[in-house]
Symmetry: C2
Amino acid sequence: MNKKYLELTKLIRSKQNDHEILKCLSNYHENDIADMLTVMTPKERKRIYTLLEPQKIAEIFAYLDEPQIYFSELSVKDAAKVVSLMDSDDAVDVLETLDDKKKYEIVENLDKAAIKDVKMLLSYDDDEIGSCMTTNYICIPKGLSVRQAMSELVRQAGTNDNISTIYVLDESLKFAGAIDLKDLIIARKHDVLDDIIVRSYPSVTDHEKIDDCMEKIMDYSEDSIPVLSQDGHMLGVITSEDIVEIVDNEMGEDYAKLAGLTAEEDLKETTAQSMKKRLPWLIILLFLGMIVSSVVGVFEHVVAVLPIVICFQSLVLDMAGNVGTQSLAVTIRVLMDETLTGKQKLFLLVKEMKIGLLNGGILGIMALALLGIYIHLFKGYTWIGAFGISGCVGISLLVAMVISSLVGTVIPMFFHKIKIDPAVASGPLITTVNDLVAVVTYYGLAFLLLIM
Amino acid sequence: MNKKYLELTKLIRSKQNDHEILKCLSNYHENDIADMLTVMTPKERKRIYTLLEPQKIAEIFAYLDEPQIYFSELSVKDAAKVVSLMDSDDAVDVLETLDDKKKYEIVENLDKAAIKDVKMLLSYDDDEIGSCMTTNYICIPKGLSVRQAMSELVRQAGTNDNISTIYVLDESLKFAGAIDLKDLIIARKHDVLDDIIVRSYPSVTDHEKIDDCMEKIMDYSEDSIPVLSQDGHMLGVITSEDIVEIVDNEMGEDYAKLAGLTAEEDLKETTAQSMKKRLPWLIILLFLGMIVSSVVGVFEHVVAVLPIVICFQSLVLDMAGNVGTQSLAVTIRVLMDETLTGKQKLFLLVKEMKIGLLNGGILGIMALALLGIYIHLFKGYTWIGAFGISGCVGISLLVAMVISSLVGTVIPMFFHKIKIDPAVASGPLITTVNDLVAVVTYYGLAFLLLIM
């Protein structure tokens, strides 16, 4: 647990003069100061703003979850100064939390350099990798000496803090390779710079979908990855902090979709916002559920003759649903690997069905035995009658689990193939198909074995 | 899509002599070479191993998903040399994939320095942050000049490549602060080093659970975070690549647990391994499902009199289940923030119930209207009889959805409070409670309104 900001808040409130406050703040991390701001009163915050340099405010504000609240406490001029001093991706993140009027005012008042970068980043869609990059990086022309490269680095490091990789551009300003800062530091003055340029350094292009290149970015596990235009010009970099954020967001989305939410939610959202994220899926499910209901209706006469069978409908359906979800979750994660061959997909399908068969067998036998005893003892059926009914449950469990594994694997593969996000579309369809299969198997078997 | 390794494989296979192969390999990233190894024959691979320096092999092997296969193709001596040259956390990751005999043999043959680091890392539990750290970092004593610090950096950079942050230790070797390499590079020779040491730099302690400190590590978004012993000695660092891996793993675990898997799975696991991950949850659910079955049994007489009610049981239960899962997923993510106050938890609970009430109201009314018409037209009931039944469904939906929201929020909070992982324990319990509530409400209402 991180309670440092509470300690800091207490300390700041106890200080009398500006000098003491400043000194105290300098002993804390920007993240702690940002957390402190969230618990202070607007009046206390305004005092803090007047004490700090814009550069420091920019660093602190980059850590805020809801920067719009705090930006509204600054004048447009001051806000623009702070945004200008932020990393371009942080600046864009902040601007996107503001209402359009405020955003426009601030953009108009930005530094010249910042305006260009911010406008470029804003031009990308949210799901394009270009929207996550920062223009804060070091680049040098090809053909420098080690010494020249080093002094170029020192010159640029004043304004750019992502220095661990130095990017090399050729004459036409196209990306030509990267130098690990470590290699530059340990190089001798008279070494040839060309020897330490890594030409196999990975890169992404600006309009690539984040979904599509995330695995690649993670695989190469570099500190930063250059973002190039279609024709190879360098536009920005994805830093390791960006990578962490991207992974967190993407995984969060997969997680949310699996739970039937259209996007990840948090505590700060209004009830209406949360409702909107959940309602679409629920409405779809209601309609699909009605289809299942009409199929169950076909078996009304089975229930009329043998009401005990309804006891175990929820059991069979729930198990089928659970198995389907397990297969779905595994398949979605496996499908993230875009290099998957058809053979591997078939392998996955066969494996899922084998698991369904084996698990279904185990659970089917358990259900057969335990429910048979239960029905005999508590429901007053004969041993044969009891095991007839529990046999239907056991066989239905086995069949439903195999089919659910199949459906839970094939449906996301199908959606993936036709380029629809399988995490969104599969859930409701799988639930419905599984319910139908389970209902038909269970009541069908009961009719055939017990009634006919 | 990343198909570079296929291009490389083709290229290497077309080369005649060692020199050509080496030159060609030098143009590709280690990650691509690692991918290439996975598609080559053992004979081809052995040729590659003999051509490359152990340092290069170590870099390539760090990118392999299943290093054990490739390590078995090296002699113990060579394998030990390669492991010795890896980052300590990568080395430990590799060793943990090997069988105990092979692992022991390699550890015995490691470099002296490597043995110490590897044994320390192996001493941590998998869920402790110490198990993820690397001992590859730069540290300098307090009190150096800028110039001395720079030359110390150059000296250590030869063997340590995480140089973007330089850690400062005091006389008793305790962590005293960190220097951003950028600040050191732009500092003038006669600047005071003390001025650029950040004393508020965040840190974690070695035995902290990864779960507990992940949010903190992400919040501070630094390139690397020092890992300290209880008494403040520096043991290692968590690099940005480690952070990406940690976030990916932790989120993957949450995802898997939500799907009813005990851990994330991938394509390479055997059927038996996957079965083991899924069966426990299924067995628990089977038993909980039996409890629900026995409660449904209480309402057998309702069904015997009015068989049509069974048509909509699956609808009500499915919807309750979905709403419960939505609330569960949101609550688990919110609970990850350890700074949450009781007031905020209550706020979440009230909000979830409001959403349940509103969504339940909308869906309840839809069900009432649509099912009433359906029952009248297709089942031959009078309008009053039809709306009586669909009214039961509508009200049950509303009640079940409110209760499911409540249960889906309270149960994970309860498990969180008593320090049981809510992501694991909540799912089955919530399903069961929701099923019970839905069944009792639905059949209870049907009995009261339609039969009595």
